[in-house]
């Protein structure tokens, strides 16, 4: 028999088995799609871990009901994510699809999922494309809208009267959005605006050009490995002590172990930090460290908050059958969050505090980010006003 026939037979058999299982009316089914395999698994794995920790904290039962979680690995490919959501909606008949790290994957699945009877809850991606005119009553974002962090950094640098800033981001949509967001709230002079190749390894040429431009500060958005590369090389070029570095989505619990001293003293901006003092966060960070032996990243905190949002909303709505009630319960946004305060905007994106964070070396030799104050409290995104949803 060919692999095709075997695969098909197994697929159909699994399908049959599922179809044959009597589905109780009130079983909560949640799809959690993230990137587990490949290099980007570095982000997805902690999210899955935090999601599981959250479930543990609610006793494995969302809203006190029987709960089934279906995990999916999107391999960071839009078409694979599309197929996964399709499978979860049509075969597993989930009420919620959550997770999703990448903007492009979210955009790919947003339309089809929100047109179905399934709620889409982003645990990370927050592209502007779905925050404004295309906002949907079936889509919630428990993370952030992409522009919020650079806006926060723009405001902070304006408040500090830092002038002549050199801005750098990868040449793709999110990179351009970041610089746009930064310039929205930064009132000073821009010394240079540079877009680098996505996934670039060596920034020495950019660093030479940067030094020649003689800026008084640098703002970067270089997530993942790109940030690690840039900051190491920036430090090696001897610039970190001369031109202060500010970043968004670049220095976090995932990149710090690879950066160590190179990142110390740089400022970042985030809606969450492991040292936030609220009781939910203290429990989350302590238990996460105990269970997985690492400091959680903001991605993990968002996945944990996703569980808390679902738990609270299902409890309030008294089940998962009434979608209008569920929606109203989620909109209340009164779940126990690691962020302390949280509200949903009219476009179902968060209104939350934006914090300044500094990378520091702890006495025990570990590297973490410390909160250095609130830049903007209760910050809503700038696309909400073009969203027609009112509630």
């Amino acid at each position: 028999m060919s692999k095709r026939i075997i695969g098909l037979a197994i697929g159909l058999a699994t399908g049959l088995a599922l179809a044959a299982t009597p589905v109780a009316a009130e079983t909560v089914k949640v799809g959690f799609i993230t990137t587990l395999s490949g290099p980007a698994g570095i982000i997805g794995k902690p999210m899955k871990n935090a999601f599981e920790l959250g479930l543990e904290h609610v006793g494995g039962r969302l809203g006190g009901l029987d709960t089934e979680i279906i995990y999916g690995d999107d391999q960071r490919k839009p078409d694979v994510a599309k197929q996964l959501t399709n499978k979860m909606i049509k075969r597993d008949r989930v009420q919620f699809i959550s997770g999703i790290i990448w903007s492009n994957l979210l955009i790919a699945v947003h339309g089809p999922v929100t047109r179905s009877d399934t709620f889409l809850i982003s645990s990370n991606a927050g592209p502007s494309a779905v925050a404004g005119k295309k906002c949907s009553e079936n889509f919630f974002n428990v993370a952030f809208q992409n522009d919020m962090m650079p806006e926060g950094m723009g405001k902070y640098m304006t408040d500090k009267k830092i002038d002549n800033v050199y801005a750098m981001a990868p040449n793709y949509q999110a990179g351009k959005d970041m610089i746009k967001g930064f310039k929205r709230m930064f009132k000073g002079k821009i010394a240079g605006e540079v877009y680098t190749k996505l996934g670039q390894k060596d920034y020495q040429a950019e660093i030479s050009a940067l030094r020649a431009a003689k800026p008084s500060a640098v703002f970067i958005f270089l997530p993942g490995g790109m940030g690690i590369n840039f900051i190491k090389q920036y430090t090696q070029a001897g610039l970190s002590s001369k031109i202060p570095l500010y970043s968004a989505y670049t220095v976090d619990a995932i990149s710090l172990p690879a950066l160590k001293d190179a990142a110390v003293g740089t400022f970042g901006v985030q809606h969450w930090s492991p040292d936030l003092g609220n009781s939910v966060n203290r429990r989350f960070v302590a238990d996460y460290r105990k269970k997985y032996g690492k400091t959680p990243s903001f991605y993990a905190a968002q996945a944990y908050d996703t569980v808390m949002l679902l738990d609270k909303a299902i409890r309030t709505a008294g089940g998962v059958s009434d979608r209008a009630k569920l929606r109203a319960a989620m909109r209340a946004g009164d779940f126990p969050t690691t962020r302390g305060t949280f509200k949903f905007n009219n476009n179902h994106f968060p209104i939350q505090n934006i914090y300044l964070r500094e990378a520091v070396k702890e006495a025990d030799g570990s590297y973490v980010t410390k909160t250095r104050g609130v830049i903007i409290s209760a910050h809503g995104d700038s696309y909400a006003k073009s969203c027609g949803m009112k509630w």
Binding site: A19, S37, A108, K197
Partner: protein
């Protein structure tokens, strides 16, 4: 293509044709969408097989033409033109045109230089796609499904599935005839001995270029369907690993057989889907490391699986002589 292959083709297509009713009986509509994806990538693999298996042209940038087809649909949709009768022919024409230009330059080289120059062209388009800010850049853009004046409703999974299956069947038929035509003979012969064909007075370059263009055009059709399946277009479709995957489908199914790549696409994509699940059975969280099994499987297919899935069938069901051919030009001549 001999009788065995025709039978195998018909059986395979018939098996695919009964999927939607079966899925309806078992109330599992998801499998229709899943296999639609298989058929679409099979279409791309078949188009590659036409130049690779018969023409010995190892194009390592075939995903680029899928990208052209998909972006044509996406860009029309972006400007509010959803008519499939406009989108699809233009998607194929655009891919053919790009194929003609790239092919004209690439075919001046041979051997590994050809592999690498086709890869370079695909990389160019990939980076171009990332830079198209208007069309979403790296994030890509959503594309509404094409309209066919009410004749076919692509939002209906079964109708969409049968449209894809019909395209595949038609392409298989056309390529089957083409391979056996004089044109196909020249292409096949120039794979084994190009100098001899040239000595006989054939402009092999022109024949190969025509073949390359036809393949690009079919691959563009596959891309247009892919954009419709996902309702989404992004540069990811042109990533070099996808070109590699299409090539794997061809090898896995059996090169130079046309129907082989269809089996190969099914085998590869279903393996990708179910391998992690099988691994989970043995060990929790093992599924995320599926690549550690997939890699050696590919190597094993190359080393031991001559002729691919097609040969397996051919040997078992029609034991006369192996139907698979050896292919892929080596050497720098």
């Amino acid at each position: 293509m001999n009788n065995r292959q025709i039978w195998l083709t018909l059986i395979t297509l018939a098996l695919f044709a009964v999927v939607p009713p079966l899925a309806a009986i078992f109330d599992q509509p998801f499998y229709v969408d899943m296999l639609a994806r298989v058929l679409i990538l099979a279409l791309a693999a078949v188009s590659l097989d036409f130049i690779l298996g018969y023409g010995g042209m190892v194009s390592f940038g075939h995903a680029a033409y899928m990208g052209i087809g998909a972006y044509t649909v996406g860009i029309f949709s972006f400007y509010g033109i959803d008519n499939g009768f406009i989108q699809f022919p233009l998607a194929m024409a655009a891919s053919a045109l790009v194929g003609l230009i790239f092919g004209a330059m690439s075919l001046r080289t041979s051997g590994v230089y050809f592999i690498m120059i086709t890869l370079a062209f695909a990389q160019m388009l990939y980076f171009l796609g990332i830079s198209l800010e208007e069309f979403g850049g790296d994030d890509g853009m959503t594309a509404a499904r094409s309209e066919f004046a009410g004749l076919v409703d692509l939002n209906d999974s079964s109708q969409f599935y049968y449209l894809v299956l019909a395209c595949l069947a038609l392409v298989l038929f056309i390529l089957h005839r083409l391979v056996r035509s004089r044109f196909g003979m020249v292409i096949r012969a120039s794979r084994t001995n190009e100098k001899r064909m040239q000595a006989m007075g054939f402009h092999t370059y022109r024949y190969k270029l025509a073949g390359f263009t036809i393949a690009a055009s079919i691959c563009g059709l596959s891309g247009a369907l892919f954009a419709n399946l996902n309702e989404f277009v992004s540069p990811d479709i042109m990533h070099w690993t996808r070109s590699g995957e299409i090539m794997i489908m061809v090898i896995m199914g059996g090169m130079g057989t046309l129907i082989g790549p269809v089996l190969g696409a099914a085998g590869f994509l279903l393996l990708e889907e179910y391998l992690p699940q099988w691994m989970e059975i043995f060990m929790t969280n093992a599924g995320e490391h599926w690549a550690i099994i997939m890699g050696p499987i590919l190597i094993a297919i190359v080393l031991f699986g001559r002729g691919g899935i097609h040969a397996l069938f051919a040997r078992k069901w029609f034991p006369r002589r192996s139907g698979a051919r050896n292919g892929g030009g080596k050497g720098h001549g």
